[in-house]
Amino acid sequence: MAQIVGAIATSHIPAIGKAIAEKKQNDPYWKPFFDGYDKAIAWLRQARPDVVVMIYNDHGLNFFLDKMPTFAVGAAAQYRSEDEGWGLPVQSSFPGDADLSWHVIESLVADEFDIVSCQDMAVDHGFTVPMTLMFPDAGGKWPVKTLPVSINTVQHPLPSPARCWKLGRAIGRAIESYPKDLRVVVFGTGGLSHQLDGTRAGFINKKFDLYCLETIVKDPEAFSKLSVVDLVREAGAQGVEFLNWIAMRGTLLGSVSKIHSNYHIPISNTAGATLVLENRAAVQTQAA
């Protein structure tokens, strides 16, 4: 059976992608941010994932307002990286696992999640930056298959934290019922607090972020009490991307422990953060 061995949460800001492309990892501005990734990358390497489930949000590359999904799930053999309009390098395509995708889609629809299935899909920096960050040696040959799950953070009404948590639970059940022996790591991308638009642009809320980083490990269901407006207020208009983190955490059905975290202000307009969680499956523990 497939098992989720752990999860990684990370910011996905385009500026990170540019810094990687321009090899600025050791610049004074970037060093405290990139230093936080060494342990995450080391953990991921030893986790030997076959598949990465990428829970992210599209920022206006694959989806427009004519057809704006609440939850979209990829079901393609590969996912294209494309020009987003401001010079981030286009990556080589990311391999998909369509059979796993359809298994997850069947399971989610049976669980009454009204997903959009995407048999052709371009993925933007919400997906590509975490891949380039976490697989720095890939050189265009991605060592894993991927399964994109995009959550609407663009057009309100957004799904609530409670709904995203439940989506994560349902994805966890779907993956762990897949009959192939696959090692899966779930990514949740975006955040933490930031706001790009309005006269509150530049808003960052360190106190709330630190609460989130702690609570998402120990008491993730606490977020289900928040509304989307609460998230906008506390995390900023784009800090709602934390919904991706909540769904990511929901996929971890076993006993969860924190391996590593890092938090640094500012990266671009954002509080940059990463978090690595290990998931020890209940089933596995019983067998041991």
Binding site: G60, F64, G87, P157, Q195, L196, G198, R233
Partner: protein, 114 residues
């Protein structure tokens, strides 16, 4: 949309979306280099093609982010317009808050020392 009391913050709900559809559709088209070039060659013609109203066209001409937001623009699509102008999110943040770019960057850094 749920009422909210968050200062300086636009929630992009159905009301905003209805106002901004044409503007956002134009900015969405800027994913493609050919469209960015077409806009650069003749801004007015490109705005007309997408059916922008006068308020939106004025805001585009003025490169005024707050006015673009007021005209129904969504920041994720507007970011692609900013890309044409080679403005990054600090430039835009400074413009919206009425700060210099350096002052805006200092404010961001200060948030880390709280």
């Amino acid at each position: 949309m749920q009422h909210h009391d968050i200062p300086g913050t636009v929630v992009f709900d159905g009301t905003q979306a209805q106002k901004g559809y044409a503007l956002n559709a134009m900015c969405y088209s800027f994913n493609a280099a050919a469209n960015r070039d077409a806009f650069t060659r003749d801004e007015d013609a490109y705005c007309a093609k997408f059916g922008l109203n006068e308020e939106q066209r004025a805001a585009i001409r003025e490169r005024n982010v707050l006015k673009l937001l007021a005209a129904g623009g969504n920041v994720y699509y507007l970011a692609k317009f900013a890309g044409i102008l080679k403005l990054n999110v600090q430039d835009i943040g400074a413009q919206q808050t009425g700060m210099t770019v350096d002052a805006f960057k200092d404010m961001l850094a200060a948030a880390g020392r709280q």
